[in-house]
Symmetry: C2
C-alpha cells in the first residue's frame, strides 16, 4: 500500500538489530487518518468475507483494530496479557513468547466474546517471527471460531512469520512487506500486485 510505504520511508527509523521505529505514527503517536486508509484497503482486500468480529492483541494493535471495526461495522475483541489472577475457566488462554521483552506472556480472551458463531479478521501492527499471531490463531481455534483473514500493517518479510502463516493457507494481507532494511535508511519493500 503506497501511502503506508511512503510514510515508513519518510518517518520510519531503522536501528541496529533489525529494529524499525515507527512510533511517530503507528505505536506511540498514532495517525488515525492513516489507519482509516488502511482500514479501507483491508475492506477491499477482504470483500465478500462474512466477517463479524475483529480480533487483536494489546497494546499497539488495538488502535488500528478499532478503526477497522468502524469500517466493517463489527465489534473488536482484544486479547489481554493476563495477570495470574484472571486465569480462570471463563477464558481461552495461550502463551506468547515476546522477543522484544524476552519474556513469555499468558494471553487470554473471555469465552463470552469469541465462539463458534464468529468469523474473525485478525488485525495487528507488526508481523515478524509470528509468535503473537500464532498465539491468536490458537485462541481462535480453541473457541471454534473461523479465521476469515489476517491484516497486518507492517510485515518484516525477512523473518519467518509471514511464510509460516501463508503456508497454513490463511489469507494474510500485509499492507507493507519489508524484504530488507539497513541503518543507512535503505528500506526495500516487496512488490505486491493486487
Amino acid at each position: 500500500m503506497k501511502v503506508l510505504e511512503d510514510r515508513i520511508r519518510k518517518d520510519g527509523i531503522v536501528r541496529a538489530g533489525n529494529v524499525l521505529k515507527v512510533d511517530s505514527f503507528l505505536n506511540h503517536q498514532l495517525d488515525a487518518d492513516l489507519f482509516e486508509e488502511m482500514a479501507m484497503e483491508w475492506k477491499r482486500l477482504f470483500a465478500g468475507k462474512p466477517i463479524n468480529k475483529i480480533l487483536t492483541i494489546e497494546t499497539s494493535g488495538i488502535a488500528i483494530a478499532v478503526v477497522v471495526a468502524r469500517e466493517f461495522n463489527v465489534p473488536v475483541v482484544f486479547a489481554k496479557k493476563a495477570k495470574s489472577i484472571n486465569l480462570d475457566d471463563d477464558n481461552y488462554t495461550t502463551k506468547i513468547q515476546s522477543f522484544t521483552h524476552n519474556k513469555v506472556f499468558d494471553v487470554i480472551v473471555s469465552k463470552k466474546y469469541l465462539g463458534p458463531e464468529d468469523h474473525v479478521l485478525i488485525i495487528d501492527d507488526f508481523l515478524a517471527n509470528g509468535c503473537a499471531l500464532m498465539g491468536l490463531l490458537d485462541l481462535v481455534k480453541d473457541s471454534g471460531a473461523t479465521v476469515e483473514g489476517i491484516g497486518i500493517a507492517i510485515e518484516k518479510g525477512f523473518q519467518r512469520g509471514g511464510a509460516l502463516i501463508r503456508e497454513k493457507g490463511y489469507q494474510l494481507e500485509s499492507l507493507a512487506i519489508i524484504d530488507a532494511m539497513s541503518e543507512d535508511g535503505t528500506i526495500v519493500f516487496r512488490e505486491q500486485n493486487r
Copy 2:
C-alpha cells in the same frame, strides 16, 4: 449521555468492592460505534477549543482515544507503561499507582510527541481515584503543553478523582457519572444538564 448510561445499565455488571465490569463493550470487547457517538458528544462539549492532540494512557483508553482523534482530525499520543530500558532523557516520565494491580508503574511519553505548542484533550475510559489522570496531567505540565479538557467515559462519582480534578479548574466531561451502585444491579447516575 443517555446512550452510554443505558448501555451501562443493560450490560454493566456490579461486583463486590465497587467494581463495575463493562468488558462487553468498553475494555475487552469494544463497541466502536458507541465510541463514535461518545466522540461526537465530546466534540460538542469541547467545541471552540484549539485542540491539536489527544492524550491517553494504555491500555483501555487507546481505543476510545483513536476514535476521538478521527472526530477531531488530530493525532493521538498514548502514554506507555515503561520497561526500565526505555527510561531515558528523551521521555517525560511519571509514576502512577494502580490500585487494581496494587503496583506503581513508570509511565512515559516521548518528548518528540508532546511540547509547548500542543493543546491537549485527555481521554480515558475510567476515572475513580484519579491517579492515572493526575499522572497524565504531570506529563503534560512537564512538556509545557496546555490541557484544553478531559473526557472520561465513566466516572465513579463516589470516589474522589472527579472532585479533585474539577477543583483544579479543568473542564472535565464525564459522559456517565455513577453516584452509587450495588451488586443487586442498582446504578444511580448523576444528573448532568448540558
